[in-house]
């Protein structure tokens, strides 16, 4: 598998079988804050409201117990799409099929991750990857990707939005199998503290 980096320095992994590059990790608050630092419609009070759902943790103090606080959650799909547009041309939320194809591809990979992690160009990104690899005792890219054991992620299903993922029970109790189950929000427009996102870029 081939890796590259998005504009925030976090890794993207190419999935040729579905013609996309995907963020290896769910989008982090560190990445989202790069977006918030630029002039846009999301101010301090909006972000305070989002953080109230899933408080922020510094990547320097990340522990196993508060791992999910690293990731941006509680966004509505259109807010996630604004982030995708800022990330660059071709970035989008994945479809159900793309997300599951990535999951299957990563599960089949047993890449010796130590070989590429130090190449991450930004020290804070290297630190995050290093901590997660240690915490997760990651043996495969699927372990590291947190597609299981992470957050539920927004995906498209035709004209609607659903969630895929299997958070660990300590974060959000569930019995979901992301290859079979879809998580449907009960109310449209409700911010859900366990809903995050992972961007994909078309055209690989």
């Amino acid at each position: 598998m081939q890796f590259s980096y998005d504009r925030t320095g976090f890794p993207l992994i190419a999935v040729p079988s579905v013609g996309v590059e995907a963020q290896l990790l769910p989008a982090t608050k560190m990445q989202f804050e790069r977006f918030l630092a630029e002039p846009n419609d999301f101010g301090d009070s909006w972000y305070e409201g989002v953080l109230a759902l899933n408080p922020r943790v510094s990547h320097r103090q990340l522990t196993t117990n508060d791992r999910e606080r690293l990731f941006i959650t509680g966004l509505l799909p259109e807010e996630a799409l604004a982030f995708a547009r800022w990330m660059g041309e071709g970035f989008d939320l994945p479809t159900v099929e793309q997300w599951r194809a990535l999951y299957t591809a990563l599960a089949a990979e047993s890449v010796p991750m130590r070989h590429w992690v130090p190449q991450a160009s930004i020290s804070s990104v290297r630190l995050v990857l290093d901590i997660l690899m240690t915490q997760r005792r990651a043996h495969s890219l699927l372990d590291l990707s947190l597609m299981r054991g992470g957050v539920v992620e927004w995906v498209r299903q035709r004209n609607t939005w659903v969630g895929l993922g299997a958070p660990r029970p300590e974060f959000h109790a569930n019995l979901w199998n992301p290859l079979e189950d879809m998580v449907r929000p009960i109310r449209v427009g409700e911010r859900l503290p366990y809903f995050g996102l992972r961007l994909m870029r078309r055209g690989v």
Binding site: M30, E33, R34, L36, A37, P39, G43, D44, R60, Q61
Partner: protein, 370 residues
């Protein structure tokens, strides 16, 4: 674990260069007039050379402080839709630059905790004109609604003492003579006090190159820690090298065999350990039995090395000479004492034996002290 030899530099300690970071975000919008007023008054009371740059939270672009008064409203409008984040600014600045940061605003800076324990936050003063800029417990010094005079008093906090130390630290040479070696029971340090210029470049031994830091004490009593910047060892604490003449080389070779040798100045033969001839007319100190060293006005440690070309000499700058991987000789008065680094106690301990004349080093090298 072995001691490593490294070179580093410390510069602009105690610099009063200040970078101001203003909060134009939504959380500070209702305090904009107060922020502009305070900033204007502080700039008026601050030399332009002190106010190095001006930033707005979230924006890595530097603004020019001397244009603030005329441009403030426009600059706030340009930056009002940014969130309260400091990483975009600090992420672009050189960590070794010795700036003081002053952040003026209202409401939490979301990513401040990402910088806890870093030099940036250590050198930061938060100024709140409304809500606190940080969570509790506080991780940075914060003033609440100060006057310009109160803020300026906090900014004028020059360094009054610098102590360079770290695990296994032993300085071997340094280029600022006001620093002095301090051999404490628990650590070795290079100290300087009450100076205008604390900058220094040094060659040193340490367990880890990046473990050596400068502890800076400010006039207010505040203490900060500054890492040394690694530098190219070429030319740092360098030595003056030369080649002994054929006659001098004969003298040297007899001396290391502990044999009498013929003096170049008098008809006598001197014992092997003699370094100066005190015959009539040689002055109080006498003359060095190596005319080449006499001509070079050599003092301190000199290392002779037997090479294919003859006997080379190196006159070492500095009062500490490395003898082997864990032993140094330190010039004390007219003699030199030996210190060994003990791994078990992680400290430098004085040895009972002195530095011998023509102390043999590794290989075909010998050290003397003049």
């Amino acid at each position: 674990m072995a001691l490593h030899e490294a070179c580093g530099t410390l510069c602009t300690v105690g610099s009063e260069k200040v970078i101001f970071i203003l909060d134009a975000s939504e959380s500070a919008a209702s305090h904009q007039t107060a922020i502009i007023g305070l900033m204007r008054d502080v700039l008026a009371a601050t030399p332009m050379a002190t106010a190095h740059a001006l930033y707005f939270l979230g924006n890595p672009v530097a603004y020019t402080p001397d244009r603030f008064t005329g441009q403030a409203i426009q600059w706030f409008q340009e930056n009002q839709q940014r969130a309260s984040l400091v990483t975009p600014i600090w992420g672009t600045l050189d960590q070794h630059a010795q700036y003081t940061f002053v952040i003026i605003g209202s409401g939490r800076i979301f990513d401040l905790e990402d910088w806890e324990g870093t030099p940036w936050l250590e050198r930061t003063l938060l100024v709140s004109l409304g809500d606190s800029l940080q969570h509790t417990p506080a991780i940075a010094t914060e003033l609440t609604s100060p006057t310009a005079q109160q803020l300026c008093r906090h900014l004028h906090d020059p360094a009054v003492k610098v102590e360079i130390a770290g695990p296994g630290f032993m300085p071997m040479s340094w280029d600022n003579a006001v620093y002095s070696l301090h051999l404490g029971a628990r650590e070795v340090a290079l100290n300087a006090e009450l100076l205008g210029d604390f900058s220094v470049t040094l060659r040193y031994l340490a367990m880890q190159e990046d473990g050596v830091k400068a502890r800076v004490t400010h006039a207010s009593g505040k203490r900060t820690s500054v890492p040394l910047i690694p530098v190219d060892p070429t030319g740092v604490g360098g030595s003056t090298a030369g080649l002994l003449s054929v006659d001098e080389a004969k003298t040297f070779l007899r001396a290391v065999r502990k044999e009498l040798f013929s003096c170049p100045y008098c008809p006598e033969q001197h014992p092997w350990e003699t370094l100066r001839c005190k015959a009539v007319g040689a002055g109080i100190l006498g003359r060095l039995v190596y005319p080449s060293l006499q001509a070079s006005q050599a003092k301190g440690f000199v290392v002779f090395q037997i090479t294919e070309d003859g006997v080379q000499f190196d006159i070492h700058q500095g009062s500490v000479l490395r003898l082997d991987s864990r032993v140094v000789a330190i010039k004390e008065g007219h003699g030199a004492s030996l210190y060994r680094y003990e791994m078990s106690s992680k400290s430098w301990l004085r040895e009972d034996r002195p530095l011998e004349p023509y102390h043999q080093l590794e290989g075909q090298a010998y050290a003397i002290l003049l």
